[in-house]
């Protein structure tokens, strides 16, 4: 079993990892950066390591040599990358391995294969996972792009092989656009990912985004832990997730899960992974990509399976056998995760910079809050704006929605604006409640990005007016009898004499 772990991340995920690791008797190390020397996550670990001074050109949690050096110098046995940052960076995984540090995640080879979408598609194709057509391998020139697009039928999407997170994607709706989009996508891919390779797929308008959690050990055992519904997105950023998905029945779930497991097996996958699918209105599903890290939204899976995914990651990395078999995995109840971010929804989800002046969290046996902030924490432009993830576990979907609503209503933050009014708007929305929504939800179905109670605007107006009155009421600062207070003779004498 691994004895010590360096968490190469910050915020709530660092705390989340540390909590499980410490419970398992693993010594935990966190990294202190100059940007937030008093961060909450630092108090959740056994040891704090100061990040060395650098010229600052590479952000701390992207600085491979220094991160590996910190682990080696302090004799830390393993490295957990969390999510984001270097979590899907094959070079980092390789650098760890070369330095004798156990990287908690799949091998660099697997990360590299899954990071290259063309390779990933190739593997998926070989094991019969359905895909959105298109070529295997990159598109060499604009003419081939046009030919391929015509074959697939419009619309099509040109994607960068090394891309992700919505970057390096171009949609073409007719033949005349393909050439130009191809050039654009190639040059964008070259500058953004240092790899101009692109490929073409059929483009689905507003599909559902559904992902399967898989977990695999060194011994070829692969288990899936059900799906997560992640269709509530804005500009490819997930905002609310749930598990299971209201779009799946047992039969479809079984088919998709089998595809996910087969893919993991074909890739010789090891550790925790997520297979992302797109699902169209006719219940056809298509492989999109595989993420080789722990996901932000992993707690919804933990809630319905009762399993601890970080614990599984650590066990697998220690070379142990998966403690569960597929038949042991039961999906119970319904979980919803609301991301509470410090963002000004009314101004287009821009980060709301400032200090969290006050925080009041809901509490209930059936809710879980993963957070990396406390009162006094500053939301800065340097890091993501997450305040907390609120995860609820209900008997069924309706119950979970009610519980989520009740919880966000009791979640109060002072000092910054948050996505709470947005979460309420989604949870109140009839289309969301019906379960029949897709990635076009925010654009098409959500009439208002924020939920306003009846008369709320009137209340706000009254608040403004009464605050104005209060500001201009200085009756408490006037004492008409003041003039009659006698002055101390000593002071009076001196004062007059000094004039």
């Amino acid at each position: 079993m691994i004895k010590s772990i360096l968490i190469a991340n910050r915020g709530e995920i660092a705390i989340r990892i540390a909590r499980t690791a410490r419970r398992m008797g693993v010594k935990t190390y966190a990294i202190r950066t100059k940007k937030e020397p008093n961060a909450v996550y630092l108090s959740s670990v056994d040891e704090i390591l100061d990040f060395p001074e650098t010229d600052g050109s590479v952000p701390e949690f992207l600085d491979i040599p220094n991160l590996v050096k910190l682990a080696v110098d302090n004799h830390v046995q393993s490295m957990h990358p969390g999510y984001g940052y270097l979590s899907e960076n094959a070079e980092f995984a390789a650098a760890c391995r070369d330095a004798g540090v156990v990287f908690i995640g799949p091998s660099p080879e697997v990360i590299r294969a899954m990071g290259d979408k063309i390779v990933a598609k190739d593997i998926a194709h070989k094991c019969g996972v359905p895909m959105l057509g298109g070529t295997l391998g990159g598109i060499p020139d604009a003419e081939s792009a046009v030919a391929e697009a015509n074959r697939l039928g419009y619309p099509v999407i040109i994607k960068a092989a090394s891309g992700g997170g919505g970057r390096g994607m171009r949609i073409c709706r007719k033949e005349s656009e393909v050439k130009q989009m191809y050039e654009l996508a190639t040059s964008e891919a070259r500058t953004a990912f240092n790899d101009p390779t692109v490929f073409i797929e059929k483009y689905l308008e507003n599909p559902k985004h559904i992902e399967f959690q898989v977990v695999a050990d060194k011994y070829g055992n692969v288990v899936h832990l059900g799906e997560r519904e992640c269709s509530i997105q804005r500009k490819h950023q997930k905002l609310m997730e749930e598990a299971p998905s209201p779009a799946l029945d047992d039969e479809l779930r079984e088919r998709m899960a089998t595809a996910a497991v087969n893919l993991a097996k074909a890739a010789n996958y090891e550790s925790l992974g997520t297979v992302e699918f797109l699902l169209d209105d006719n219940r056809n599903f298509y492989f999109m990509e595989m993420n080789t890290r722990i996901q932000v939204e992993h707690p919804v899976t933990e809630m319905i399976t009762g399993l601890n995914l970080v614990e599984l990651q650590l066990l697998i990395a220690s070379g142990e056998k998966l403690p569960v078999e597929q038949k042991d995995v039961r999906l119970e109840g319904w979980a919803i995760e609301c991301r509470i971010n410090a963002e000004d929804v009314q101004s287009g989800f821009v980060p709301s910079i400032g200090m969290i002046r006050n925080l009041r969290l809901p509490s209930d046996n059936r809710i879980r809050i993963d957070s990396g902030v406390r009162i006094g924490t500053e939301i800065t432009p340097f890091f993501d704006s997450m305040i907390a993830k609120l995860i609820v576990h209900g008997k069924d979907r309706a119950d979970a929605i009610e519980l989520a609503l009740h919880s966000v209503e009791h979640f109060h933050v002072m000092g910054v604006k948050t996505t709470i009014p947005f979460c309420k708007a989604v949870l109140h929305n009839e289309v969301f409640r019906s379960g029949n929504f897709n990635t076009g939800f925010i654009e098409h179905d959500l009439k208002s990005l924020i939920y306003k109670e009846e008369h709320e605007e009137l209340i706000a107006a009254l608040l403004a007016v009464s605050t104005y009155n209060h500001d201009n009421d200085f009756s408490g600062d006037v004492d008409a009898d003041m003039a009659e207070q006698p002055m101390d003779p000593w002071v009076l004498q001196k004062r007059i004499r000094h004039l």
């Binding site: 287009g348 910079i353 009254l462 104005y468």
Partner: protein, 175 residues
């Protein structure tokens, strides 16, 4: 001090011109369209503010007050109101008719320094107070913010560049 708020009429004017008119009885009794509203501001022990209106409590926050302009949060939702009297409302119209309004804002470097990071992007919508970029000067990170609502027209600043005082960094076009 008597401010003669009794029987005064105050109007809250929203961002899109929506008007809410209130008659002021005293500091805790108002009425709107003949409907009596009794209010109370409650500061909880942990510092949260509750605004009670006719017994219903709302979590609120006064975000900013500038002149007669108030930004408040009710249930976490932001509202902007300017508080006017019937006369000042008329005055607003008169002045607006007389004066050409500026069509935006040029954000310039308030002091010489180095651009650390740029948050503003061309075409981005901004509101007053939104961060545009971070300027390091006197070894301190200063966040420069927009003072008008509008759309970012140009971003003249480059990350890592050194800028002089009053150098143009971001141009905002009023929405």
């Amino acid at each position: 001090m008597q401010n003669n708020i009794q029987n005064k009429t105050l109007i809250a004017v929203g961002k899109n011109g929506e008007e809410y008119e209130f008659k002021v009885q005293n500091s805790y009794q108002y009425s709107s369209k003949g409907c009596k509203l009794t209010i109370e501001m409650i500061e909880e022990a942990d510092g949260f503010m509750l605004f009670s209106c006719e017994g219903v409590r709302y979590p609120v926050e006064i975000v900013s007050r500038k002149l007669n302009n108030y930004e408040v949060l009710v249930n976490g939702v932001s509202y902007n109101f300017t508080v006017e009297t019937p006369f000042s409302l008329k005055r607003r119209e008169i002045l607006a008719a007389n004066q050409p309004v500026s069509d935006g804002e040029d954000v310039c470097a308030p002091m010489p320094g180095k651009i650390v990071s740029i948050i503003a992007q061309e075409g981005m919508e901004v509101n007053p107070g939104d961060p545009l970029l971070v300027l390091e000067a006197m070894k301190m990170q200063n966040t420069l913010t927009a003072s008008v609502k509008g759309v970012v027209k140009t971003v003249a600043a480059k990350a890592g560049a050194t800028v002089g005082k009053d150098e143009l960094l971001v141009e905002i076009k009023k929405a």
